[in-house]
């Protein structure tokens, strides 16, 4: 079987699961097993796919497409054939594997977690729909299909977030997620429009080739930048970047495994993945703006996460922050590490979410970390896996998170050394410290110390096997050994040295970052030490940034952890006092920088007010005119009715009266007596005789 067929089968397996489970779930108690079996099958097949691709076709992309809509040659446009297709490159198969792995563990985790829910099988059906949509995003070779599955992901996320729709907050959150995503999608759609109008195709590769050949949207580099940014809007929505990050924390209303699957590992990663896909056509200016958005999104949620008390919300903000990291990394050119971080983050963040699910499950749906504590003893395995994932997220050596984060930080340093811009480096290290701090705050408040809610604590227990197994698996994947033999240098690992490579840029050289311009091959530097990313200059900068980064990042992470222990474990410092001291800052953080309030009052309120105003216009003005003209017509008709009755009818009636009068007069002659008539006849004859006498 060739890989394309395999990939198509993998793509449609979850859809099959969705359809079967949805339709059998009504009456068949074990319907959820269909979905679970299928997803395990899908996972096995994606392992096969991964293995075959990486062993057999390491450096070739496998592409296959078919004509979906064939319009033939049409006026103005030439030949338009809209194709859908699959492109299997290393990035895609790795991502495909990640999606199925996490989807599978989430499925298994949910078997116990969701037990007893009245829409049990439908839940699994939705998971299947989601997995299908996400896989579509991963394996597509064109931007239209990307958009299609992008929206389908939005739908399944809507369904899953609002799964417990009896709660108003849940249905609100689902709606918010969908609509906020749509805002981003509008931009993406506009970008797609520009691409299509310019290149008459949706295929990534064909667009790249055309850009490389010098064909630009509206023939200007400026519009290339705009196109890139519009497409990036889609990523802003899906990956919950500033300023559209507001939906993600609310999305925590969904079941916790869903948060692990969608809002940590896969759906939100789609935005980053999309940027990875279109990276070759992003100009320097676009990348800079992307980096700035990423930096802001990394920083703001990190500050918010410091003060949140809901275990899932902390993780949610942490997710936004880490996604911002990835976006920033892409923006400054650390392409490989961004993707690497996407994968490692997917594993340990899914682990964290599932761990929090395990905690919530055993605490009977208590999510407030202020009411937890001491769970370490009750739930040792959950604790261990959670801690390991936290270490990875904080970027402690020997974890996968260290490798990827370190790479990104090295990227920022290299960027600084090449451009002199310190902003991203500063943000990068600050956020690293904040991350370490709030994650350990979370761990300490949840698992360490004394239990604050004795009753719930007493009932707490370690979770069943199907919930523990995924935790162990995912935390195991947070260790360095899967990615590289050298725990301090990711470059020597197989992931980065062989599998994932920065793509060839298509952007005209004048529109790139200066350091992304390849040097003229004037000298015979045949000293091919290793792969050159973008340019020798850049590769050198990355190398020289590597060692300082290790120490610096280790230092800031350690600092963050130290403070967390000082505040919460050893109580040397009092967080409440500090909060009181910097009250405005604390409030800002606690209230999430007032984004929701602002959006609600300005955009939502504004739109609603405007729509009410339009309804008023419709009912009052436009209908007023219509009804007014009707009333006017009626008025006029009344007047003309009066005229009709008075004048026209008057004339008619006068005629009638007049003739009546005459009749009255002549009636006198009509006696009914034959004799009278005869007299009249005789007189008449006589008169006639006199009259005609002369003739």
């Amino acid at each position: 079987m060739d890989l394309i067929t395999l990939s198509v089968i993998i793509l449609f397996i979850p859809l099959l699961g969705f359809v079967l489970t949805l339709f059998t779930g009504m009456n068949f108690k074990w319907a959820f097993l269909i979905e679970n079996v299928l997803i395990v099958l899908g996972f096995i097949l994606s392992v096969v796919l991964l293995y075959n691709k990486l062993s057999g076709y390491l450096d070739t992309d496998i592409v296959s497409e078919f004509n979906w809509i064939n319009l033939g040659i049409i006026p103005f446009f030439g030949e338009i054939i809209i194709k859908l297709g699959i492109k299997l490159d290393n990035v895609a198969v790795i991502m495909n594997f990640t999606v199925f792995l996490i989807s599978m563990v989430v499925h298994l985790f949910s078997i116990d977690y969701m037990k007893g829910d009245k829409r049990y099988s439908r839940y699994f059906a939705y998971l299947g729909l989601f997995t299908f949509s996400m896989t579509g995003i991963v394996v597509t070779n064109n931007v239209l299909m990307m958009y299609i599955f992008w929206e389908l992901v939005g739908l399944s996320s809507y369904l899953l977030i609002g799964f417990w729709f009896e709660k108003k907050s849940a249905s609100d959150a689902g709606k918010k997620a969908f609509i906020v995503n749509r805002i981003g999608d509008l931009g993406m759609f506009a970008g797609i429009l520009i691409l299509f109008v310019t290149y008459k195709t949706f295929s990534f590769q064909e667009i790249f080739n055309a850009v490389a050949a010098g064909q630009l949207p509206f023939n200007s580099e400026f519009w290339l930048t705009i196109t890139g940014l519009l497409l990036f809007c889609g990523a802003i929505g899906k990956s919950a970047q500033f300023p559209l990050h507001v939906w993600l924390p609310d999305a925590m209303e969904g079941p916790t495994p869903v948060s692990a699957l969608i809002h940590a590992a896969t759906m939100v990663a789609a935005g980053v993945y999309f940027i990875v896909r279109i990276f070759p056509i992003l100009s320097g200016d676009a990348l800079l703006i992307i980096a700035i958005i990423g930096a802001i999104s990394a920083f703001i949620p990190a500050t918010i996460a410091l003060t949140q008390n809901d275990i899932k919300r902390v993780l949610a903000y942490s997710t936004v922050s880490q996604l911002g990291y990835m976006i920033m990394a892409l923006g400054i050119g650390a392409y490989v590490f961004a993707f690497f971080h996407l994968i490692t983050h997917a594993f340990f963040k899914a682990c964290l979410f599932l761990g929090s699910g395990s905690v919530i499950h055993s605490m009977h749906h208590e999510q407030d970390i202020q009411k937890m504590g001491g769970l370490r003893k009750k739930m040792p395995i959950t604790y261990a896996t959670f801690l390991l994932a936290t270490l990875a997220l904080s970027g402690i050596p020997l974890t996968s998170g260290f490798l990827s984060k370190d790479g990104i930080l090295a990227g920022t340093l290299a960027y600084t050394s090449l451009t002199g811009n310190w902003f991203f480096t500063f943000i990068g290290f600050t956020v690293a410290m904040l991350t370490a701090f709030y994650m350990f705050r979370l761990v300490i408040l949840t698992f360490h110390g004394e239990p604050k809610n004795k009753e719930k604590y007493d009932h707490a227990h370690e979770s069943p096997f199907f919930m523990i197994m995924p935790l162990v698996l995912l935390s195991g994947l947070s260790i360095f050994i899967w990615y590289t033999p050298n725990p301090f240098n990711a470059d020597s690992g197989w992931v980065l040295s062989k599998w994932v490579k920065a793509p060839t840029l298509s952007v005209p050289e004048s529109a790139r970052y200066p350091f992304m311009v390849e040097e003229q091959k004037q000298e015979s530097i045949v000293k091919q030490e290793e792969e050159v990313t973008f340019s020798h200059e850049y590769t050198h900068a990355m190398h020289s940034a590597h060692v300082p980064t290790i120490f610096l990042s280790g230092f800031v992470a350690g600092l963050g952890i130290l403070f967390a222990f000082l505040f919460y474990q050893w109580k040397k410092l009092d967080p409440n006092k500090l909060a009181a001291k910097v009250k405005p800052l604390y409030n800002l953080s606690y209230n999430k920088w007032y984004f929701d309030e602002f959006y609600n009052s300005v955009f939502v309120g504004g739109t609603l007010a405007f729509s009410n105003f339009l309804r008023w216009i419709d009912n009052t003005i436009i209908d007023g005119i219509v009804n007014g003209s009707a009333t006017l017509t009626r008025g006029v008709s009344k007047v003309s009715g009066k005229f009709d009755n008075g004048v026209v009818d008057g004339l008619v009636n006068f005629t009638a009266y007049f003739s009546g009068f005459i009749g009255l007069l002549f009636r006198k002659f009509q006696t009914g007596k034959v004799q009278t008539y005869i007299v009249l006849v005789i007189f008449s004859l006589l008169i006639l005789l006199f009259l005609f006498k002369s003739f």
């Binding site: 009509q670 006696t671 009914g672 007596k673 034959v674 004799q675 005869i678 007299v679 005789i682």
Partner: protein, 103 residues
């Protein structure tokens, strides 16, 4: 010696006719009205015979007069029957009271 000329006959018939008309118009009794009609018919008969005598018509005038006499008899029979019916309905033969035509 006064010779009897056409005008004398005509003069008589005119008187008869006028008497007949007078009878029709003034009498209230339907039978009297019928008698008026008889007078008018006889006035016409005189005219017929007189014109036949003085004109060059052969016997046509007399023949016509005979027809009229027969007709008058028939007519009188029918008319009297009508009068009888009228009397039955209205209990009167006074033509002033019989003014249904007005309606």
């Amino acid at each position: 010696m006064v010779t009897v000329s056409l005008y004398h006959y005509l003069f008589v018939s005119t008187i008869l006719f006028s008497l007949g008309i007078f009878g029709i118009v003034t009498r209230k009794n339907a039978v009297m009205v019928l008698m008026g009609i008889e007078l008018i018919l006889n006035a016409a008969n005189i005219n017929f015979v007189a014109f036949a005598r003085y004109g060059n018509f052969g016997f046509q005038g007399q023949l016509m007069a005979l027809f009229v006499i027969v007709l008058a008899a028939a007519e009188a029979a029918i008319a009297l029957a009508i009068v009888l019916n009228i009397y039955k309905v209205f209990s009167s033969v006074n033509v002033d009271e019989i003014d249904r035509l007005k309606e």
